[in-house]
Structure formats: structure tokens, C-alpha cells
Amino acid sequence: MSHSVSVSPYGDGPHTGADADGIGARALALVGRSNARVAERITEAKAFTEREVLGCGDDLSTLVSTVRDLIAESDRDAAAEAARSRDVTARFVTGMQQDMAAQQSAVREVLVLADGIQAATASIERLTQMSHILALNMRIEAARAGEHGRGFAVIATQMRDMAGTIRTAADEVNTAVAGVRAGLPTVMAQSASMQERAQRFIAETSAQGEAASQHSGSASAQHARLDSVMALSNAALSHLQFFDPLVKQLDAVGQDLADCELRLQRAIDGHDDAMASDAWHPDAEQQSPTPVSATPVPGGLMLF
């Protein structure tokens, strides 16, 4: 143990070596504690940066990628649904149009048939009239023929009755045809109603297609928002680049404190070289190069 005399920093006269050792020991303990605290803070700061800040940046980047994938999937589903809906609509409309065309064609055929039937009944009416006249003539001749014309009169009567029956049938046919004709406007009206419904359906499915387009439009807006989020996150994280030189400075301070602790210990142990300049940083000259005038500027790029 050293027994040299030193001057108290408190100005109360020279102290013995034992006092100096006590002061030295306290100073050593103080430096040691400071050193430990600095090292602890540096470790905490680095761990915090990696764990919390950069980790959050990573998490955000992953989350944004996931959301983009979901938006893309939703877009694909909407597009597929819209395409399926258009197919269904197109098939339905085509079918309806074919049915309506067939219906109108059938109505026209019915009208033609009705005309044909009415023409036929008109012929039958003329025949019955002729039959009546013929029957009348036969009765007249039968009356002239007297006894010999009796059979003739019977035939004439039968002819008259037959003409009446035929006339009745013709009337019934005419009535039926009139009924069909009366019903055709209703059929045409129903056909028009179906056409109207088809057009409303087309309008509704067009509106659905419009909604699907708007969905795609909103997806673009969502992507744009995600781009903004990532740009802001990256801008915030870029400030961490200033953290790195700061940590290096703190590391240098920690090293200085460790050296200081070592030298104090050596001084307490009585080594005369504790304060020698070469016992300090052997590579001090390499640690902090004197910066030359700044070219290029931070963030600047120089391509050779």
C-alpha cells in the first residue's frame, strides 16, 4: 500500500496516504457505478430500438402486406361474382327474349288460324243457306210430285235439319274463334309485361355491376392509404439513423469510463505509470478521425 502524501481536494491541508487511498477508493467506486449505469443505459437503448421500434416497423410492414393481400383477394372475389352475375343475367335475358319471340310467333299463327277458321265457317254458312234453299226447292218439287214425291219431301226435311245443325256448329265455332281473338290481347299484354320485367332485371344487374366497379375504386383508395401509412412509418424509422452515431459516442464514453476505472485502480495499487499518457487509449488516434469539409452531404449520393 502506498504511503505518499497528497493534497486534499477539500483544501483542508495535506492528507496521509491512507486518506488518499480512501478518496481513491470512493472515486473508483463512483466511476465504477457510473460506468455500469452508462453500459446499462446503452444496452437498454439498443434493445429497445431493436425490440420496440424496429420490431414495430417490421410488424407494420407485415400487417400492411397482409391487408394488401386481403384487398386483392376481395377484389378478385368481387370481380368473379360480377362476372358470374353478368353470365347469369345474359343467359336469362337471352332465354326470355327467345320465349317472348316464340310467344309472339304463336300468337300470329293463332290469328292466322282464326282467320282460316272464320273463312271456313263463312263457307259453311253459305253451304247451309244453299242447303236451305235446296231443301225448300225439294219440298216444292215434292209437293208437285204428289204421292211420288213423299220420299223426296222426307229427304228435303232431313236436309233442312242437317243444314240447321251445321249452322249451329258453325255458330259455335265462330263463338270459339271470337273467344280466342278476345283472349289474344291479354296474351300480348302479358308478353309486354314480361318484357318490362326483363328490362327492370337488366337495369338492376347493371346497378350491381356499377357497385362492383365502385368496390374496385375503393380498393384503389385503400391501397393509396396503405402507401401513405408505410411512407410515414419509413419516415419515422429513418430518424433512427441518427441513433447509431449517438450509440457509438456513448460506447466511447463507456470505454473512457472503463479506462478511468482501470487507472484509478492502478493508482490505488501504487503503480507509478497509472497517469502515463501511453496507458490511455493505445489506438486513440484511430477512434475519432477529424472530419474534413463535408462533401457529399448527408443523404447525398455520388455515383462514380
Partner: protein, 123 residues
């Protein structure tokens, strides 16, 4: 097709930030913490299309790594950009003579870094 970019920096913070910026632009990244690891990665991973390299690193600094890498004929065309806090003209000159294609000073601008990567890898 994703391109691999090697990031050589002893700072985990910077490495991770550069990696994030490049990955968001569609690149893949590989990281090394000093010049020796960087050189080993260049030798073994032939999918590396570009290198972004710090200068001040332990074991082997960035300038030494560039000089060593460019000794090999197969790596002469590999673009290497220095990304560093340094700005001294003699360092920049040494990097250029060693075969680096550019010098970027920290803190870097992510958009500029990505644009540079796209330009150099396409070339």
C-alpha cells in the same frame, strides 16, 4: 424476379432499415456484420446482384472488402455502393479506385436508395 442485395454493416439498426426499404420495393436481402462476412457471402451466394456496404467495421472494413472482392474476375461487375457517415475525399477516392460504383452518406434517403438499386441492378 426478386434480386438479392447484400447489406454489410456492423449496425443492426442500419442493416434492418436498409433491408426494410429494399424489401418493400420487392428486393430480397442478405445481411453481414463486417467485411469478412460480406466477402464470404459474395463468394458463396451467386444470387447477390448488388452490395451496400458500410466503411467503418470491425475485422475488415468496407474499403478493404471492396478491394478484396474486386480482385476476382467474376465479381468485377458486381455493383457496390458505400453507405457511411464518412465523407472524406481520400476515402471516396480510395473507394472509387477499388471499384465501388457510388458513395452515399448516412442518414440515407430510402427512396433514393431504392431508385439507385433499381438503376444499378437493371444495368
Amino acid at each position: 424476379m426478386p434480386k438479392n442485395i447484400l447489406i454489410v454493416d456492423d449496425s443492426g439498426t442500419v442493416s434492418q432499415q436498409v433491408s426494410m426499404a429494399l424489401k418493400q420495393a420487392g428486393f430480397d436481402t442478405v445481411q453481414a456484420t463486417d467485411g469478412r462476412e460480406g466477402l464470404a457471402a459474395i463468394d458463396t451466394d451467386r444470387s447477390i446482384a448488388m452490395v451496400i456496404c458500410d466503411v467503418n467495421m470491425p475485422n475488415m472494413n468496407g474499403l478493404e472488402m471492396v478491394e478484396a472482392a474486386k480482385q476476382k474476375p467474376e465479381d468485377k461487375a458486381l455493383p457496390i455502393i458505400m453507405l457511411t457517415t464518412e465523407g472524406q475525399p481520400d476515402m471516396i477516392r480510395r473507394a472509387k479506385e477499388a471499384g465501388a460504383v457510388g458513395w452515399m452518406v448516412k442518414p440515407f434517403d430510402a427512396n433514393q436508395l431504392v431508385a439507385t438499386a433499381k438503376h444499378l441492378i437493371k444495368a
